[in-house]
C-alpha cells in the first residue's frame, strides 16, 4: 500500500522530523519579527516566513498525493517539461537566493513533450531542486536540464556541485529504489523525504528514476517517454 509512509513508525518519525525544520524556523522568524524595528529587515523576515511556509506546505501536499496515488487520480497526458521546469524555477528562485544558492536552466530539448502528469512531474523536479539546494555548494549553481535520451525518452535532470554521495548509499539507490524515507536515505544527515516523494511519483508515471554520481556532485534524473504530440509552444 502506498500510504506505508504513515504506517511505519520509523518513516513517520523521519517525516515528522523533516517537517519540523521549516515549522520551527518559521516560529523563530515570527518571534524575531516581533522584536524587529527596522522596516526593511522586517520585510525580509516576513518574506522568509512566506517562502519557508510555501516549502512546508508543498511537502505536506506531496505526502497527501502519495497517499492518493492508489486512487489513480493523476492522469497521464502530454506534458511540456520545459514549462514545468520554468514554473519550478520561478517558484524556487527566491528560496535559492535566501540560501545563497543559484538555480540555472539548460535546455537541450525545447520542443518535445513527454507522457506524464504535470502535477507529479512538477513535484519531482521541485524535490530534485530542493535536494540540490541543500547539498550544492555556494560557488557553483545547481542546473536543471532537459535532454533527449535514446530518441524515445526525455531526461529531466538536476545537477548539484555538492559533496559526492557515499558509494554504499549510491548502490542502495541504484539497486533498491527508494522504498521509504530513512535517516540516511540519500546523504548523511538527510531524511531523503524529497527524493522519496520524487521516486514514488516517477514510479507512478512509469518513468525511470536515477542518479549520476560525479566527482564534484550528483545529478538526479527522471526519464519519461516522448509523447507523439507536438508542442505548440
Amino acid at each position: 500500500m502506498e500510504s506505508e509512509v504513515f504506517s511505519a513508525n520509523s518513516s513517520t518519525v523521519v517525516v515528522a522530523h523533516e517537517l519540523k525544520a521549516p515549522l520551527s524556523l518559521m516560529r523563530q522568524l515570527a518571534l524575531s519579527l516581533e522584536l524587529e524595528r527596522d522596516i526593511d529587515r522586517a520585510h525580509q523576515i516576513s518574506e522568509k516566513i512566506v517562502v519557508t511556509s510555501d516549502r512546508a506546505i508543498r511537502q505536506v501536499n506531496d505526502l497527501t498525493k502519495i497517499a492518493r496515488l492508489d486512487e489513480a487520480l493523476f492522469e497521464m497526458e502530454p506534458v511540456n517539461p520545459r514549462m514545468v521546469c520554468d514554473d519550478v524555477v520561478n517558484e524556487l528562485w527566491r528560496l535559492f537566493r535566501f540560501n545563497h544558492r543559484e538555480l540555472r536552466l539548460e535546455y537541450r530539448n525545447k520542443k518535445r513533450l513527454v507522457v506524464g502528469n504535470r502535477q507529479l512531474l512538477y513535484s519531482v523536479v521541485y524535490n530534485f531542486c530542493l535536494n540540490a539546494m541543500n547539498y550544492g555548494g555556494e560557488e557553483l549553481p545547481s542546473i536543471v536540464s532537459i535532454s533527449d535520451k535514446y530518441g524515445t525518452k526525455i531526461r529531466i535532470a538536476v545537477r548539484d556541485f555538492g559533496p559526492a554521495i557515499p558509494t554504499k548509499i549510491w548502490r542502495e539507490i541504484k539497486d533498491g529504489f527508494v522504498k521509504q524515507p530513512v535517516d540516511i536515505a540519500m546523504r548523511p544527515g538527510s531524511s531523503g523525504l524529497g527524493l522519496y516523494i520524487a521516486a514514488k511519483f516517477t514510479n507512478y508515471m512509469q518513468g525511470d528514476f536515477g542518479l549520476i554520481r560525479h566527482r564534484d556532485g550528483t545529478s538526479f534524473y527522471i526519464d519519461l517517454p516522448v509523447s507523439g504530440q507536438l508542442s505548440l509552444v
Binding site: H17, A21, S24, L25, Q28, S32, K48, F98, P163, G189
Partner: protein, 121 residues
C-alpha cells in the same frame, strides 16, 4: 568568536541576524568546523546535532579529545529532543529544541556561556 555549526542556511541566517552583535564564524558541516578549530579556539560553539556528514556528536567527541577545546562551552540547538544531563559530559552548557526555543533564552544563554568562559567557569 562564536563558531556556529548548522547545515540549514535558513537557520544560519537566523543566527546571524539574532547574534549580529557578536563575532561569528559559520560552518555547514562538522568536519570543516573541526578542521578550523584545529587552529582557532572559539569562545563558544553553537551546534546542531543532525548535520550533513559527521553528526554533532562527532564534533563533541572530537572537541573532548583536545584539552583546549574540551573547555569551550557548547550550546546545542537541535530538532532532536535531548536533555542537558545527557550532554553535560561533553561540556554542553545548554540544550535548546528548535521547536520551542525563545530567541531571548538563546541570547541569555550565549551571554552566560561567554561570561562563564571569561571567568574560567
Amino acid at each position: 568568536m562564536i563558531a556556529i555549526i548548522e547545515d540549514d542556511k535558513g537557520w544560519e541566517d537566523y543566527y546571524q541576524q539574532l547574534l549580529a552583535d557578536y563575532d561569528l564564524k559559520c560552518f555547514h558541516d562538522g568536519l570543516a568546523a573541526v578542521q578550523w578549530m584545529d587552529k582557532t579556539v572559539p569562545d563558544l560553539v553553537i551546534l546542531d546535532i543532525l548535520l550533513t556528514g559527521p553528526t554533532g556528536f562527532a564534533v563533541l567527541n572530537e572537541m573532548q579529545s583536545y584539552p583546549e577545546l574540551a573547555k569551550v562551552p557548547v550550546i546545542v540547538v537541535s530538532s532532536v529532543a535531548m536533555s542537558e544531563d545527557e550532554l553535560a559530559k561533553y561540556g554542553v552548557r545548554a540544550v535548546f529544541d528548535k521547536g520551542d526555543m525563545m530567541p531571548q533564552d538563546l541570547l541569555k544563554s550565549v551571554q552566560a556561556a561567554l561570561e562563564g568562559a571569561r571567568n574560567g567557569k
